[in-house]
């Protein structure tokens, strides 16, 4: 049984930008791609810059992969998998995300 928690309303997200949510004591970067059906959630902590900033990064695509580029040193992270595209050894924690009745909800990735 998943445990979904509402963090904000869809209207709080703008296309192609991110926000940071406090979710069970963790900083989660939440992004909207081109539309509200296109949401992503990964850890907000940038393991390269060692600061909680990823929600403030630019969203881009390479081929089909949608990624966020860190605002500090521009490393790119696949928003679906959390995998860093510039360093195979590094990846971000990801979270499940959905829209329910205009509420944006997060849930821990089931193991």
């Amino acid at each position: 049984m998943s445990n979904w928690k509402t963090i904000c309303s869809v209207a709080d997200l703008k296309p192609s930008t991110g926000v940071c949510a406090l979710f069970e004591g963790e900083q989660v970067a939440v992004f909207m791609g081109a539309s509200k059906n296109d949401l992503y959630a990964v850890s907000n902590y940038d393991p390269f810059g060692k600061a909680s900033v990823l929600s403030r990064g630019l969203i881009g695509s390479v081929g089909e992969t949608v990624y966020v580029a860190s605002p500090l040193y521009k490393q790119r992270f696949d928003l679906m998998t959390g995998q860093c595209l510039d360093d195979t050894d590094v990846s971000l924690k990801t979270y499940q995300i959905k829209v329910d009745n205009n509420d944006v909800q997060l849930c821990r990735e089931s193991a």
């Binding site: 940071c20 949510a21 406090l22 081109a34 909680s52 881009g60 390479v62 081929g63 605002p71 500090l72």
Partner: protein, 844 residues
């Protein structure tokens, strides 16, 4: 085996070239090199001496450094002339008494300026023009002089005249021959050069032989001429030719020519065993070569021979030259006077546009023998190559010097040149070497320059080098790819045109019509910047916000820990005490680390996202506005205090700086833009290191463009002189908008200008002469931008929707718990990783 000792006498351009060649080609440690020089500094660029008067320093002119010599184990003795050579026992003794034995001796003593034996010619303000020390004397003398005369209307004489003119003197040139540059130019060319130089305000006196220099009535001196006329002047520069510095050879029985010069053979060996001579002191085939390129070749030949390789020989050199004298383009190729028996000429003379060209061809009309070009030297590279490579002339040789109706340069295609063709004579770079460089991955001029050194000397071959580069890229099937990124198959310049012409207002529209995918961190900010340059909308509008890079998106400069710095605009660096107090109070209230910036503003560090709106509200309430320190946009207009307070100021630099900053504030561009305004030539605002530099003169403002500090410093180029406020602003409007239209992404103006085809001259044609009929459009674009200016922070704090984003969490009032600070020198700074660990432990 003991090391071979090589003593080099002289450290001019050629002497240094020899040393450098040894450093780069010898095997480690097989040689010991000792350099003796009478000058107080290591080698510098004598060709560019006159730039000393337009702001270059001794350091700018330096070709090497003490560190470089030390690092490569080159011993050197400066300010210590060699006084004695013993060719039997193989040693030299310096004036200071140091003895150096040698296995090989290289004389690179250069030349000295010829000073005609004129009674009174040895007075205090009668100087020569050859060394940096000479320049120092000229500068001091010029500072207490109003009128200056150069004796000698040759190449060096005109360079010297340029120096005097730049020093602000009424300048005259006195020449014995009936025309200027009599060696290189024919009558027609000399005549036009004279007219052009006179238009620039330099008075020319030809066919004048100075008989005596006596005390003057109006000025310090009077020069009496053999024809009974006279000229009054405060200082005199002798530049009547050079003589080989062969004194040592003469004294110690090394063979010299009848009219001077140390005789050398094809390996640059003198008559004494193991003694070589190179450069302007050497006489080969009865000739002295007074240009740097042949000197460099000699340096290479001697170095190779000493290393035991005798493949390369010095077999004379082509003395063709192309240069800019007092801003006038002049070139001379081969037999410029048509003295070869049977030589025939084509002449093109255009008094209106002030262009003169003469093409000298062989008796059978098939080969180029020489040429003279004044006012338009475009054909130089092609004609020179035709001559050097003995190529056949095309069917209608006159087309080579006639203006083309199609606008396409006529001449030879570079493809027809053999690989052995020398493209850059200063550094002896062949077409083959440029091709190799391209094959190894150099795809632009900057790469070619750093790999081959081509066109880094006099620059005369730049156009030709570029043609070879482009042709080679095409030959290799390089599609010269200028696509911005995978989302747009267009260059930044093309996208700028598309956006402007099709009036595209959003990234989404552009992506739909001309791109694919979502975009990326390359194309989004680039397009965001272009949209802002042309339409200047609010950058945080929903349709633009996703395009903004790290700093723009929160209108602050993100620091390493994710907090921001706050920089309000302080136009011209002028600030009232009241405003200064507010800055202090705000910094104190929010605990911000405070530092004065390089651009005369105050930077407040460590503001958290949620604090930004409150901080800005307080600042805006007392009249501050955003400083755009976060944008690729106009940053600051730095100024000195100027005539309102300074004893030396000639104009109100602060006032003008504020006007300029107010005009261009918020202007987004391919990269950041900095201005400087100085109130007098002392240049305390360092305007020449700015993208746009303005320096007050007695008659207005001098405008410098495309300077840069930072990573790759570059002095701005003098663009126009003595402008009034209005004209200056008009030019700056045009320059900046032209930059915005044509620069690459993240390209500063300095690199832009260096890559702009046609360079500074072309930019002047576009901006001053309106060659492209764009001026009105560029000004209108600027007007639109200015009209739509807004303080982005003011807009932001008055929009509650926008303010929602300015909190660390969308769903909680908490702050980022990852921030740790320690105190240092009375302020805070982010904790280092180690400190952070300790702080966390402490808290736990």
């Amino acid at each position: 085996m003991s090391k071979q000792r090589i003593v080099v006498i002289g450290n001019g351009m050629v002497g240094h070239k020899f040393v450098d060649h040894m450093i780069t080609t010898q095997n480690d440690g097989e040689l010991e090199i000792i350099v003796c020089s009478e000058e107080s500094r290591l080698a510098y660029d004598r060709v560019k001496l006159s730039s000393y008067f337009s702001g270059a320093t001794a350091k700018d002119l330096a070709l090497t450094s003490r560190e470089y010599y030390h690092d490569n184990d080159i011993k050197f003795r400066l300010s210590d002339k060699v006084a004695e050579i013993n060719t039997d026992e193989k040693y030299v003794i310096t004036e200071a008494g140091h003895k150096e034995t040698y296995d090989k001796l290289v004389m690179a003593t250069g030349s000295y300026p010829f000073v005609p034996p004129i009674p009174g010619g040895d007075q205090e303000h009668c100087l020569t023009y050859r060394t940096i020390d000479d320049l120092g004397e000229i500068k001091s003398s010029a500072a207490i002089s109003k009128v200056g005369v150069v004796v000698g209307g040759g190449l060096l004489g005109l360079e010297a005249a340029n120096a005097l003119k730049q020093a602000g003197l009424e300048t005259h040139v006195v020449e014995f021959a009936p025309r200027l540059m009599a060696v290189q130019l024919d009558e027609g060319g000399g005549k036009l050069l004279r007219r052009k130089v006179e238009d620039l305000g330099v008075t020319i006196h030809t066919e004048k032989a100075t008989s005596a220099i006596v005390k003057g009535e109006e000025c310090r001196y009077r020069m009496n001429f053999a024809d009974g006329s006279f000229l009054e002047t405060d200082m005199i520069l002798f530049s009547a030719g050079i003589r080989p510095q062969d004194e040592l050879a003469r004294k110690f029985n090394i063979n010299i020519g009848e009219r001077g010069g140390i005789e050398v053979d094809n390996f640059c060996r003198t008559s004494a065993t193991d003694v070589y001579a190179i450069g302007e002191c050497a006489l080969w085939g009865g000739k002295i070569f007074g240009l740097v390129a042949p000197g460099y070749t000699m340096a290479k030949v001697a170095a190779q021979h000493i290393l035991g390789r005798d493949k390369v020989k010095f077999l004379g050199a082509d003395m063709s030259t192309k240069l800019k004298l007092l801003g006038v383009d002049v070139a001379s190729i081969g037999d410029a006077h048509g003295q070869t028996p049977g030589a025939q000429s084509y002449v093109y003379n255009n008094d209106i546009e002030q262009v003169y060209k003469r093409l000298v061809v062989s008796e059978d009309g098939k080969k180029v023998l020489g040429a003279v070009l004044v006012g338009d030297v475009e054909a130089y590279g092609g004609l020179l190559q035709m001559m050097l490579n003995d190529m056949d002339l095309p069917k209608n040789p006159e087309a080579l010097i006639l203006p083309s109706s199609s606008g396409e340069p006529v001449g030879l295609g570079v493809d027809s040149l053999p690989d052995a063709a020398q493209i850059c004579s200063c550094f002896d770079v062949t077409k083959g070497q440029i091709k190799e460089a391209v094959a190894s991955g150099c795809t632009d001029m900057a790469g070619i320059k750093s790999t081959t050194e081509a066109s880094t000397g006099c620059g005369g071959c730049a156009a030709l080098t570029k043609q070879v580069l482009d042709a080679e890229l095409a030959n290799l099937g390089y599609e010269v790819k200028t696509d911005l990124c995978e989302h747009f198959a267009y260059s930044r310049v093309e996208l700028a045109d598309i956006i402007r012409v099709k009036k595209i207002r959003t990234f989404g529209d552009l992506l739909n019509s001309h791109g694919c995918g979502l975009g990326c961190e390359i194309c989004k900010p680039a397009v965001g910047s272009i949209l802002a340059s042309f339409w200047n909308g609010y950058v945080l509008e929903d349709k633009h916000i996703g395009l903004q890079d790290t700093n723009d998106i929160f209108l602050g400069n993100m620091q390493k820990d994710g907090t921001y710095s706050v920089v309000p605009r302080v136009a011209g660096g002028e600030i009232t005490p009241d405003k200064l107090i507010v800055l202090g109070e705000v910094a104190k209230e929010f605990g911000l680390y405070t530092k004065v910036t390089g651009g005369q503003r105050i930077d407040l560090f460590g503001a958290q996202l949620h604090e930004l709106p409150t901080i800005w509200k307080k600042l805006i309430d007392v009249g501050f506005e955003t400083g755009h320190a976060y944008g690729k946009s106009l940053r600051t207009v730095k100024s000195c205090v100027g005539s309102t307070w300074c004893r030396y100021g000639v104009k109100d630099s602060v006032g003008f700086a504020i006007d300029l900053e107010d005009r261009y504030k918020g202007l987004r561009a391919p990269h950041k833009i900095k201005f400087g305004v100085s109130g007098c030539t002392r240049e305390c605002a360092e305007a020449q290191s700015k993208d746009i530099g303005v320096i007050a003169t007695e008659n207005g403002w001098n405008l410098y463009v495309c300077g840069n500090g930072g990573m790759r410093p570059r002095h701005g180029d003098l663009f126009a002189t003595d402008l009034d406020d209005e004209t200056l602003i008009k030019y700056v409007d045009r320059i900046l908008m032209f930059y915005i239209r044509t620069a690459d992404r993240l390209q500063r103006t300095s690199v832009w200008l260096e890559n702009l085809e046609g360079g500074l001259d072309y930019l002047k044609e576009v901006v001053i002469d309106d060659k492209l009929s764009l001026a009105a459009e560029l000004e209108a674009d600027m007007a639109t931008n200015i009209e739509n200016y807004q303080c982005e922070w003011k807009t932001t704090i008055s929009d509650p929707e926008k303010l929602k984003r300015f909190s660390h969490f969308i769903n909680a009032p908490d702050q980022d718990s990852n921030l740790y600070y320690v105190a240092e020198r009375g302020q805070k700074r982010p904790a280092t990783e180690q400190e952070r660990i300790e702080l966390v432990e402490l808290a736990d």
